[in-house]
Amino acid sequence: METLTSDRELVRLDLASLGVRRLNHYLHHELPRTGARRVEIVNPAGQHNIAVGLDCPVQVDVRGHGGYFLAGMNKQAQVTVDGNVGWSVAENMMSGSVRVRGNASQCAGASAHGGLLVIEGNAASRCGISMKGCDIVVGGNVGHVSAFMAQAGRLLVCGDAGTGLGDSLYEAVIYVGGRIQGLGADAREEPMTAEDLEQAAELLRRAGLAGDPRRFKRVASARTLYHWNADAHQEY
């Protein structure tokens, strides 16, 4: 494996010469044996599938913009991106964390089961779609239909949320600091309890973001879609 720098602790890899397939093969099969604690990936150039399927406790720093599915299916690894990412960052993440210092395109954290996803900038539409237990913290705004059919976990948005927020929500909980452009079917705003304030404060702290938890609103499922209602005459 050719690396730009390799000491016991840090491995620096140039994606321009490696290619994504070779990079991911290294991260899956060779890295765990080297004992390296940190991997730096330079020249990502918006390529797709960077650092997908990681399963070891390593810090991965991507120096630039990533494409689709960055850090998808992540387990254990702590991935940071100094730039923007395309569709479905940290999709189906199981554990570990992914931090995007720029903006994320749509479907950030889609169907993620665990771990923490932090988008320091804005996330586009469908952020946290079908999330199944992860935590997502967005420093800026989220686009339309975020947390659509979200089943478990927490989405905290410091800025504004687009239309259709939490449409067909299950048991995931959403906290929004800014304006909510519109709620989706069966999502409703609920009072912030003392526990919610603690949850919001904890999420902000884990994400390393400043903010007063008291300015957040709670959105959760009204659970009216949970059971078939024959009296509704199929009007929903």
């Binding site: 150039a45 918006g46 390529q47 797709h48 913009h65 494409g67 689709y68 923007n84 395309g86 569709w87 903006n103 395109s105 749509q106 586009a124 539409s125 686009g143 339309h144």
Partner: protein
């Protein structure tokens, strides 16, 4: 899938670099659309009363100079022809309808790709990288261009079905997405006397928008009317002699990324297509919002 690219050079003296900057953007998007491709490029208007016509004939063996001689002999009008591979630009002082009627009588008849004063259109079947080489896209100069790499999901794969589609003069459109009601639009337009070249869904959108503009609407207004008429998914990138315009459907189903610097505006389906542009590190990079109309003037 399909890929779209667009590039507008803000500095008029830097127009020579258009093709060189565009080529890697275009080739990168071949992964989203490998079956056919096309490009519309805008330059200074043809001199005097001349118009520019882009013509196509498959096979590479068409005698374009003979076509030019026949045109002058039969119409009495001088003309100039510049050819490259299956493509030629014909410059002549002739109305589009008159040229189209004349071409239809030719045997064999080349296919008319576009009409206008500022726009040349190239499109062909095959891998976009091969098409870009064949037509020397890297050598193209101009103020702005839009390109498309196609992965056909509905109508046939052919040069005529490739994008950009054109309607009227100096107007073209590329589309990533699919429409569910193109036949409804066609029937409405056919009742207004419009005719179609293909059975492609994008052609219906292109002719709809151009028809609205001929009814007196500006492009923005025509796009608002299109948003209520078009049912389906779309990222549409359009160009006229003076501007590039971009719009996404209400659900933002199809991707688009914009990068703007003091020197250029670049648009592509994915960021990786823009990653190698000079100055991209300092560019303002954003995703266009759904149903928001973005326009950049040259």
């Amino acid at each position: 899938m399909c890929g779209i690219v667009g590039l507008l050079i803000k500095d008029p003296s830097a127009g020579d670099s258009l093709g060189k900057l565009l080529l890697p953007m275009f080739e990168c998007m071949a992964e989203r659309g490998p079956d056919s491709a096309g490009l519309a490029v805008f330059n200074a208007p043809a001199p005097g009363a001349q118009r520019r016509y882009s013509l196509f004939f498959p096979g590479g063996a068409f005698d374009w100079q003979q076509l030019a001689r026949a045109f002058t002999a039969q119409t009495g009008k001088p003309c100039e022809v510049r050819c490259q591979a299956n493509h030629a630009v014909l410059l002549a002082d002739v109305e589009p309808a008159e040229l189209k009627a004349w071409l239809d009588e030719c045997d064999p008849a080349p296919y008319l790709l576009s009409a206008g004063r500022s726009m040349d259109v190239y499109k062909d079947e095959g891998h976009p990288a091969v098409i870009a080489r064949q037509y020397r896209f890297d050598q193209l100069a101009g103020s702005h261009c839009v390109g498309h790499t196609r992965m056909a999901t509905e109508s046939a794969v052919s040069p005529a079905h490739a994008h950009p589609f054109t309607a009227g003069e100096d107007f073209c459109l590329v589309h990533n997405g699919s429409l569910s009601n193109p036949y409804m639009l066609r029937r409405k337009l056919e009742a207004e006397g419009l005719t179609f070249e293909t059975d492609n869904d994008t052609e219906a959108a292109c002719r709809w928008i151009e028809w609205r503009m001929r009814q007196g609407e500006g492009l923005d207004q025509a796009l608002h009317s299109a948003a209520t008429e078009l049912d389906g998914f779309y990222t549409l990138l359009m160009a006229t002699a003076g501007q590039l315009t971009l719009v996404r459907d209400a659900f933002a189903c199809k991707p688009a990324v914009v990068a703007e610097t003091p020197g250029y505006v670049a648009i592509a389906s994915e960021f990786r297509s823009l990653a190698h542009l000079p100055g991209i590190e300092e560019a303002d990079i954003f995703e266009p919002l759904p149903e928001e109309i973005y326009s950049w003037k040259r």
